[in-house]
Subunit: 333 residues, 6 copies
């Protein structure tokens, strides 16, 4: 079908974009979802340097690659989170500054506005990313939560992101939150609440990634069906449960890849996600954007995996029916 | 069998102990696991007032009730946790003090030592409770965890609880951690690590409660088999998964009892826990302590439920075989 | 809880109501859902004979029985159905008349209006029953259906039942359709369409019976949750799938009770229906009407079964929590 | 293996046979199962025009295609059915005539005899098709069925089809009923009854199509094992259940392809059918006829799908063992 | 219902029959299935001592107990088995003699004939027991079996048991083989072969015990349906699989009761067996003989268990319907 | 990845090695696991003829094939087994000799020592094979086992194999027992016991073959995880359960390939074994030896199957990650 297949470059930021683009072109990708870190896509330079965006485009095109979305997951995370030392490792030094939480959050919000501006300048209509969450750490209610505080968390999220989305709207760019644990929305209930907190404004939508729903025992197809109109971007990423009565679905505070975890990320097509059913539901939803492979599998060679994943998507995302097909036998006269 | 059935009084702290004891005696319980809050069991008075413990015993005995364990979950939670406003609601004012985290943790640790002393004076050999956790909030590794920090969390736990267990040892009392999300140990992996962090010293063991393992898709019978020697106390509490593809196993930041949650607590025998198999595994483990009903079910009348649960345990915890039974047919001569 | 347990008398119409009422009183039922056939409840006499309703009430009361609903399933079936010889066996001779389909349907509709009037006179607020369906026989689309014809079927249903519900409204009585194969509504989709066809008017609601949903592999709890406000009456009836790869879920044109069927009706508590979860969902829905046992099990003695079913409902429909129960431990001060 | 792979042309009757044959030849099919509608195979012309059959053969052979069976599902349906307006759309005008049911059925029966004669003339030994059913509409017994009437339905089926099969026998052609809802046989029980009604005469057998058994939760492999000797032809068609508690296995009177249905047809290899196990059971049964792909998938491009299905069958219908293989290790001397 | 509930005394042979009968009478059993070992029932004395049978009857009757079957499992085992040292422990010394295998088998066969004679004298029409097997030890074909040798095993079985059944026939007594691993018949296939080997003569039937089928993952209800006419006696015994990926279904050469086994015997109602469905199938089969509890559970007190099992059977073996029940609503006039 | 893929030649002993090697070279195998029967590898000639080993190497190399292990399953079986006529068919005549059991066992043991010597001379470090078992025939404990006798069986195993492993150690070769029913180790429990019986000496390890674990409902991945360090060789063989309630997991004394068996061997990738998860666990275990296809499938052409299996392994045993992959997004600076 016409949906382009891209690679999300976030897990490849150790490679210079020139090298990565060459590889991806050779492997047959249609494009890249550029990460705003490493040397892949620099928001500040995009706004400040005249030729930067054109150069990036030229580089991609020289390898036959397009770009339909850029990502700024890392800075977005800092917009709503309680800030701790882990954020210092993921945001640029100028966003971290002195590390004072309010300041970090404010600078991260400004950088997200700039990301919208840079996307517009670069010519993409979607920015994927995270929002952070004021309440994620209250996930399990002990000591008992004051549930009004949870509600206030959604309000704070709306206060922080509303002005950001104003800039997105002004720039004609949409933000696509990757629904994911640690974010303001990570399942059906919280996605409904997050969309409602922003009054369902169209500039704020979803980067649909089924690998984060499967470990919660959620049905990704039902998710697409429910939020069909709000899916602005799609990640092709897989995860696999390895439950045997001794491994917890919560992950045991173990790093990804540890064999005692109850689930882990795997290369697309090697896990629990039923991508064919998902692609069919995306057809029903009318989604025509890219299928962006976010590749992560601690048990597979990365470059082998990228090619394997691309081949998997190509053979699974087959063309939908162009005509209304009728189960009936046509008499044909 | 000889195992007494008790009621954990923590969820009934709105009732005076005199009233609750009367009810439980009438319902046929063998005893109570007294909570160290409400007016049920006061650690400070037990240590400071000469007749307090005897009075409590007399009250219980007047209703035909024994006591084999006291609980101090709430204060224990504050020993290792990062302290936030929610702790103020669960610890006594003198433990909270000015709310400075280090001070709260230190005072909570002292109160746990006093709890051991009070238990000894009251004549019980087990204190059940929580430990809190320095690392629980890092459950999902994003922003990415420094996993050395997780290891340091177990060290900090050992530094905080080692001196407390010294007092338990001196008093001849054992601490039984309720393995539970938000605690230093909540599954197989973390229980192994917590026990190892304290060098497997016998004074620190487990209050086994299967209702916290089921929602993690863990096998409670395998848990008893693995940690057989370290189970100092048992809670009879049940939980039920209500997964339908739209409800997350993570709970969606919803309060217990909300129908959109992926699981909830229910009265024993009404959920996923296979108590017969658990009681058989406790027989194999040689556990002879109380089966303490921790009753919580947002969809059932509390007093109906307490009686229902007691009847359930009585008919399920049948007498094990007193002799080696042989599958063979005996010839009988 | 306060919900009364009644027996639906439809399957006992071979017994005179005097005899059946005596039995049910002795067995401990709270009341009866009277069928409008046999000598149980006569719509015509109720309207024409002055003392009839009072007599019926006196008879029931003499056995300690109340009545909250009457049933007229058999006549209702003829309102929308294509009429065939099978209808002659289930409607009164004066409704059948000469058997001309249009005439049968018209007379059946008038009789349903009279049923509303009789119910009002008798003092009950609910009539349970069937609607029939103009389109049921087009269930499997071969020869291929004209799906516009299906839509017209819902319109014809609305044209037939709208005037009937007008009378119900005027009499202050509600009609409760038993969602059931062969009716205009038999699952989620068709219930949504049937309610919509009548503009969601409150006089037309549902007699919820999970035994008809289980064989379709539907979730009765989700049904209660979705249609909570429209459930006017509840049947307690069970069914059991006996699928082994050789028995069809469609029933193979075999009579109920045949062991080659893929499913069958069984006494409540002996089948696939999870009544505890259903009763909890009815609590959430605020349903306070009767739980009416519709007893049918080809492998069990009928009178044994009625008592067994009553005991089952009594022990399963426990009292819900009267207060907001908090998972949190209360500090109690 | 030697089994040819054909395409059933029924769903492609909008294309002229010349165009379709060209495509199928190019795609690599071994042959076609020609439908007796569209311009694919004309029973009347085959009998009346001298060169018709030879021309058809020549056309097929020019694309490297054979033909082992022709289909006349549509006319067969009218032989036993209660006739309604839907049949007018599927039978030729001269069979429909004035639409009087008895006349339609009689003319359809004659046309089926002609189909046997045409098949013989064309040189194929199998006609696939439907029978219709006098009792299908009584599937769910409400109003309660007179089950003697069901038995009489099988007798009427035998009366209608016996004379047709006489002609098949005389022509040396066998009829293969596609076991399918709406037909006299749709599952194990009804297939046993239909075969018995015709005294198990060999001229009447089965066109085995697993896609109609899966939605009934039947085991297609067990079906092949039980009816091994009577399988005269095989359709390769797949179906997929999409049950989620809200979608009925009965289909909700929705058209194929609607996402609220509990199941749907899909391209072979994309659904619930375990074709490898089926092909192994066909090996055991000694079936050496064609595997005829009946392609239908409302979510896939038809031409992509035909090629995808062909590749699927080629790689799944591997060669069986030519020798008795022994699990034992051979000593080899 | 009318089916009596008995206790099989084989596992209680350490108790004198007088003591056991007293207990069983008190517990409420209807009778005993007497084992031919311990002092329960002595085949030799029954034949040689005039008053023995009457005395036994009197003893049972004094406790309100009947007897419908006697068991001679242990001697029967020696009729066909390759004899090893284990048999010495289970057969009487005079049957063992010098332990020469042919002699042991011959003497065991004679003793089984005497058992038929003793049963007739005692007034029971069924002897339950084992047959042994010449081929059981060839269960897994390595070194590779000569499968002709398996067939010869069935012939040898028929040669050994044919003459025994001649005596049974002459005495009007039937033998009921407990289908069980280690016997000539242990599943569907081998039961078919064993019955065929004896030409389906009615004197040789089945003692149906579902606990031996469940661990083989067989369906006991299907077994009753298939062998309905040959079920001469029924054991109520339960078993439970405890598979967790590490415990083998084969039992690991561990004794019953070991927690590392993949399955074990448990008290009826505590395992995998669906007794309600079995009792319903026995109703369909017309079985009216005793339900004989064979009690074995290494994790439950034996006397508690016997009473628990009796209560379980009483509440599960409810009365079947005495009349043809019709799903239809009767109009009642 | 670097793991070579070999074919185990045991099931191909009807073909001369020259012919088989030519085929395998052409198909693309990396090497052969040579069976010590047929003319594949002759232990006696390897020790007695100077050029034999070099010739064999030359033959293999001429087809591009290596060899990392030789097999002597058949002779090994006789070392511990009770000897019966079936062994005559699988051991060389000079090992069988006069067939006296003690003599056969002794000569088999000597031949296994020679196999180690021949392996060393041939330049391979692993011999795969069976051990036989003194106790396998006591699998089901009836007549009741003396379980001390089971323990003595492990001692006898150790007495027989200890001296053999002494020679393996001396030669620098390791023995790899194929864990398999009929052997001293066939599951987790018995593998633990067998390893312990030989004091966990490294010369005695495991030839891991998941096809023998699946029918026991064991988890092969857990097996690799538990015995990681002792896996000296791996067989790629698959099996498939075909349970339908009527087919026993025990196999019914039917030959492999019979459709009434509850399970059977199938070509790799066509059964229940999850090879991808196994290969990942072998990566974790650091296993770098060959993946040796043991091909057996009674329903597939052998040569088609060998190629199909090779392709399956090549695409499934993908390269593992060469670097520690981090789930985290790298900031890249």
């Amino acid at each position: 079908m016409a949906r382009p297949v891209t690679l999300f470059t976030g897990q490849w930021a150790d490679l210079p974009i020139a090298e990565l683009a060459a590889k991806c072109g050779e492997w047959g990708f249609d494009g890249l979802e550029l990460a705003s870190w490493g040397d892949h896509f620099d928001v500040v330079r995009a706004l400040e340097e005249d030729g930067y965006c054109a150069e990036r485009r030229t580089l991609l095109e020289s390898h036959g690659l397009g770009c339909w979305a850029i990502s700024n997951h890392l800075v977005g995370q800092a917009v709503c989170d309680p800030i701790d030392v882990r954020h210092q490792a993921i945001v640029p030094p100028e966003v971290w500054g002195d590390g004072d939480p309010d300041g970090v959050r404010a600078r991260a919000a400004e950088r997200m506005k700039d990301t919208a501006r840079a996307a517009a300048r670069f010519g993409v209509e979607v920015v994927t990313g995270f929002t952070g969450s004021p309440v994620w750490h209250m996930l399990y209610s002990f000591p008992p939560n004051d549930f009004d505080e949870i509600e206030r968390g959604y309000e704070r999220f709306a206060e922080a992101w509303g002005p950001i989305i104003d800039v997105f709207d002004a720039e004609g760019v949409r933000f696509a939150l990757e629904v994911h644990p640690t974010e303001i929305a990570y399942d059906f209930v919280t996605t409904r609440k997050a969309l409602a907190a922003l009054d369902h404004r169209p500039g704020f939508g979803i980067n649909f990634d089924p690998s984060h729903l499967e470990p919660q025992l959620l049905d990704p197809v039902a998710f697409v069906d429910e939020f069909a109109g709000r899916i602005h971007h799609v990640h092709v990423k897989d995860s696999k449960r390895r439950l045997d009565g001794r491994r917890s679905i919560l992950g045991s505070h173990l790093n990804f890849g540890d064999s005692d975890r109850g689930w882990d990320f795997v290369s697309p097509g090697h896990g629990d996600v039923d991508f064919e059913s998902i692609f069919r539901s995306l057809n029903r939803a009318g989604y025509e954007g890219p299928l962006s492979i976010e590749w992560e599998d601690s048990g597979m060679d990365r470059e082998y995996g990228a090619r394997d994943a691309l081949a998997f998507v190509r053979r699974t995302d087959f063309a939908p029916s162009g005509v209304a097909f009728d189960a009936a036998f046509a008499r044909g006269d």
